[in-house]
Amino acid sequence: MKVAERFDVTKIRQDFPILNRKVNGKPLVYFDNAATSQTPQQVIDCIVDYYQNYNANIHRGVHALSQEATDAYEKARQIIQQHFNAKESKEIILTAGTTHSINLVANGFEKFLQKGDEILVSGLEHHSNIVPWQMLCEKTGALLKVLPMSETGTLNMSQFEVMLNPNTKLVMVNHVSNALGTINPIQEIIKKAHDFGAKVLVDGAQSAPHLKADVQALDVDFYTCSAHKICGPTGIGMLYGKRELLEALPPYQGGGEMIDQVSFEKTTYAGLPNKFEAGTPNICGGIAFGRAINYMNEIGFENIQAYEHELLLYATKRLEEFDNIIIYGTSPEQKTAVISFNFEGLHPYDVGTLVDKMGIAVRTGHHCAQPIMEFFKIPGTIRASFSFYNTKEEIDLMIDALKKANSMLL
């Protein structure tokens, strides 16, 4: 894949005011994009515009502001629907983010599970796609089974086939691993799980910034992501669910917006998507989420993928200059622009602390994926995660900082 000629990173960087700031007197090099992405001026303007011009509660007021806000919020839902190619906009539930989405589904499945049922989670999951299912198992007596990963940070697919059985009711996997960047074979996982009648939830938090997922082509049952990882604000995300599944799930929270009729004897619930959106939602966040998706599409996901892949190859090559480097996970061909690494004999916390002093923002620690760290028998890793607004020059600055950190610590 080639980066289109019209992809101009210098111009793109001008969209991100935060990239001009300094940290500890040095220009900021932001390589913690897998934790949260930066926000372009276009999205910031959208947020300001909402509060300056049409801030109002939605879905109930008859006044002009409320109508405008409702239209913008529902328009955002359509943008999200089209982006992920859902059949209907009512299949898109606006949530507080991926964690909220997963908890919503886990809560709803309590009704359908019984003792002896099995829930399968991949060994590459973030804590947010492990803990809600453990809680569900405690409540229902279902069994949590873990699909193992290999030394290369990929899932053991032959083991997956062995583990699937008629008791498997749910399969949970991330599209892309947050700790290692591995792109998982979700198409295959979905198909095989469906052969046994199991439903599949895909955590798309780490894939949405890099790849465009088509939920109908994937035939996935649930797909979720967070806006703050794709140039949107925090506190908003989406849950896609097939209509018949969302209709079967009970509501997660009770309150305003999610009802049809309320009396003290009996309340009936609203239809989709309102059934799952109790209370005044994050209106501005939803609208800005839509704007962020448009922004990403204006740049083009093919361009983003091609350019980020170049950054990944370059950074990998430069990191391999260190004799004591250990890179965790798979080859660049099977992952997004994330490198999880350590230096032999050095604690990731020490390295992270020193490079921060030099203006480099990388993540250190277990990345909310302690089972993966346990697998590699390490306290954590240093994770550099790149975005389309990063540059090779910034990678050089990181390498210089890492060299300095090595010489100070060794």
């Binding site: 916390y349 602390t353 020193l354 002093k357 250190t364 620690g365 306290p379």
Partner: protein, 143 residues
């Protein structure tokens, strides 16, 4: 002036000799490398203070009327900071430990290590040192 305060002032004076952050950190790394801080038998979960990223182990003993601390960490910078804290708080009377403030950490340019986001167990460590001191103070016969 209490002994603790005097030591803190000495440390602030020492750090004032450094020109920049690199020299400060190099000094801390040296401190971290050079000190065997704790007996291995205390590097167990019973003595651990869990931070998100680096682990800290602390052990306390009462010798005559003073508390003697030993500690360690798996990260070298954290270990360096521990060495500084031990220098301040170890071999002191429980009452002085409880009453001591830790403003000097800010003055020597290591403030960020006390921020909870650092999650390196240091904030909990200071709390733990004071808890030990409080425990010993309460055990002492009242005058």
């Amino acid at each position: 002036m209490s002994n603790i305060q005097q030591i803190q002032e000495d440390i602030v004076d020492e750090f004032a000799l450094f020109d920049d952050w690199m020299q400060r950190y190099e000094y801390m790394i040296e401190l971290g490398k050079s000190l065997p801080l704790i007996d291995d038998k205390y590097k167990t979960d019973d003595y651990i203070i869990k931070g998100c990223q680096s682990k800290v182990w602390v052990h306390a003993d009462m010798k005559e009327d003073k508390v003697v601390f030993t500690a360690d960490s798996d990260a070298i910078i954290t270990k360096g900071i521990i060495a500084i804290l031990i220098r301040v708080f170890s071999n002191q009377r429980p009452k002085d430990i409880i009453e001591a403030n830790t403003d000097f950490i800010d003055e020597i340019g290591l403030k960020e290590h006390l921020s909870p986001t650092r999650a390196n167990g240091l904030v909990s460590m200071i709390k733990q040192l004071k808890m030990y001191a409080l425990g010993y103070e309460n055990k002492q016969p009242q005058n």
